[in-house]
Amino acid sequence: MAKTAKQTKLKTGKSATPDAEEWLTMYEQMVRIRRFEERVNLLYTSAKMPGLAHLYIGEEAIAVGVCSVLNPEDYITSTHRGHGHCIAKGADVDIMFAELLGKAAGYCKGKGGSMHIADQANGNLGANAIVGGSAGIAVGAAFSAQRLGNGRVAVCFFGEGAMGQGFLAETMNLAQLWKLPVIFVCENNMYNEYTHFSETTAGNPADRARALGIHTEEQDGQDIRVVYETALAAVERARRGEGPAFLMFHTYRYHGHHVGDINREYYRSKEEERDWVENRDPLALFADWLLAKKLTDRGVLDGIEAEVKEEVERGAQFALDAPYPDPSEVSTNVYA
């Protein structure tokens, strides 16, 4: 399997002030997610990808900003919109593409697919197709970390739609009660599928966490520097044994709920979509800042763009060419 040479991991022991190289690594990861998702969209619309695809485009700064403050052995749990989290936690795009196409070379031997992709080696305990359903796994992983004393933290990614689930409230109660090292990251892209969250959610979602006494932050999810700084503070206090945090990041899902959700005007306007894409794009904002601060130049960014594009194309081709699982696989791994 082709390994991607460019996926340099950040050093452990995260800096409050990343240097140019570290920022560029984050930029590259954001580009990787975007190009990956664009290629997924193409695979899906050209009928090469079975099932469903929920694209993460527009939200890249959150996955990358949060995962960049984690160590490889820290845990994450993810959602049906999970490709970004998976890449940000260190997965290789070729093996991800293979999983999304149901191929034997995939992270889960093709048995999980887009909505269940897991990458245990990088601490990704899996995407989850039950909204809010992974919160127990994250809290349980944090419980293990606390009891085993291994210093790890767990991050639970979910969307604002999960705030309707009682299960999330239960796990937040357990986490705060026992001061577990878990970070609840609410990616508020404003839409529960095809419905604005104001139509489904009483009050401010972040107030639910505040009511439990959980350390709570509400921040711009389009600015990776803000995400990084916010996540770093939460992770550090969790590692110190000070308990969980609830971080709500405001963001936007550029595409529909899934790839097939094309005509969206009945639930959101084209003007709103255009405003986010043109004025609050996390990649553009990040590039502008890197250039303004002279941490890089356009040539370097273009180089990253070209390399990632090639890597993604190579990965997609690898997956397209890869064999499906042997029929005998259908009944293996039911029991350990």
């Binding site: 245990q120 127990g136 009891r147 029991y335 350990a336």
Partner: protein, 336 residues
């Protein structure tokens, strides 16, 4: 009720509750990653007092009182199991497993498969079953068939103190999610339990009473009911063989089929609702595997298909009894 063997041998006799407590204590002592969590499991020792004293030896860090939060603690158990612990989650009444369904069915049961075998969930969900305690419709059900239906789960239904201890130790050491159903009317049942270490493998039925004329396949407390029925049948010259599968999954089909072939008649007795239940599954196994040896249709006796009533006068009508087993056996043997 007491098992016949305990009367004769003069060996150590424990109640089923004591046997379960001893199994937990031995496993907590043997493996530091084992912990018990549930409502009132510590100082109270559960509502049934089965765990009394465990917290004194192992402390509140390992015998953990939880909020009244069945989905939350089950979810925490799943995550802890995925990351190095061996949780034993206590769900006070079997009726409350309905609250754990997403975590057991969509998460625990599927994670090993969905991850292509990379992740595993070695957890035990201990809960109760059994009516006739005058606890009415939400505290009396025997819902073990629900979990038995789901690939990825294993289900244990012990009928004696000896079996309960050996099977619980096996459950804790198993790398899969195991649901362990204890009949709350049997906690005071006495039986022989050796001092020395032992475990009992899953999927191995036990012939609780050998016989030649009719096979009675029975689970949990229905084994005791069937043994009582067998004594009554012996008085009229019918020798019943009582087969206890001990686990509904994995199911020892071979032992059940062999017994039915030998006796040519079979009854299946289980305290779950009769429709779509354990009795239906086992009856189909017998019909499929012993059809040409049978002299009569396979008969099923389950709980009456009604919500379990409160009034003792009504509740007693809903559960299988030794008399109902005897009547069915006599009819099958042409002795009415």
């Amino acid at each position: 009720m007491s098992t016949p063997s305990a009367e004769k041998t003069g060996a150590r006799v424990l109640t089923m509750g004591e046997a379960i407590r001893e199994a937990l204590a031995e496993e907590l002592r043997r493996d530091p990653t084992v912990f018990v969590m549930g409502e009132d499991v510590a100082e109270a020792g559960t509502a049934f007092k089965v765990l009394l004293g465990l917290v004194d030896e192992f402390g509140p860090e390992r015998v953990i009182d939880s909020p009244i939060s069945e989905p939350g603690i089950t979810g925490l158990g799943v995550g802890a199991a995925m990351t190095g612990m061996r949780p034993v989650i206590d769900i006070m009444f079997g009726d409350f497993i309905t609250l754990t369904m997403d975590q057991m069915v969509n998460q625990a049961a599927k994670i090993h498969y969905m991850s292509g075998g990379k992740l595993k969930v070695p957890m035990v969900l201990r809960t109760t079953m059994g009516a006739s305690r005058r606890s009415a419709a939400q505290h009396s059900q025997s819902l073990h068939a629900w979990f038995s239906h789901v690939p990825g789960l294993k289900v244990v239904v012990p009928s004696t103190p000896y079996d309960a201890k050996g099977l619980l130790k096996t459950a804790i050491r198993d790398d899969n999610p195991v649901a362990f159903f204890e009949d709350k009317m049997m906690y005071q049942l006495k039986g022989e339990v050796p001092e020395e270490e032992y475990t009992i493998p899953f999927g191995v039925a036990d012939i609780k009473r050998p016989g030649t004329d009719i096979t009675i396949v029975a689970t949990s407390s229905m084994v005791q009911v069937s043994l009582a029925a067998a004594e009554m049948l012996a008085e009229i010259g019918i020798e019943a063989e009582v087969v206890d599968p001990r686990t509904t999954f994995p199911l020892d089909k071979e032992a059940i089929i062999e017994s039915a072939k030998k006796t040519s008649r079979a009854i299946v007795v289980d305290e779950g609702y009769q429709r779509y239940g354990v009795t239906a599954e086992i009856a189909s196994v017998i019909a499929d595997g012993a059809f040409y040896y049978l002299d009569a249709p396979v008969k099923r006796i389950g709980a009456m298909d009604v919500p379990i009533p409160f009034s003792p006068a009504l509740e007693d009508l809903t559960v299988p009894t030794a008399d109902s087993v005897v009547e069915t056996a006599k009819a099958l043997c042409g002795r009415n």
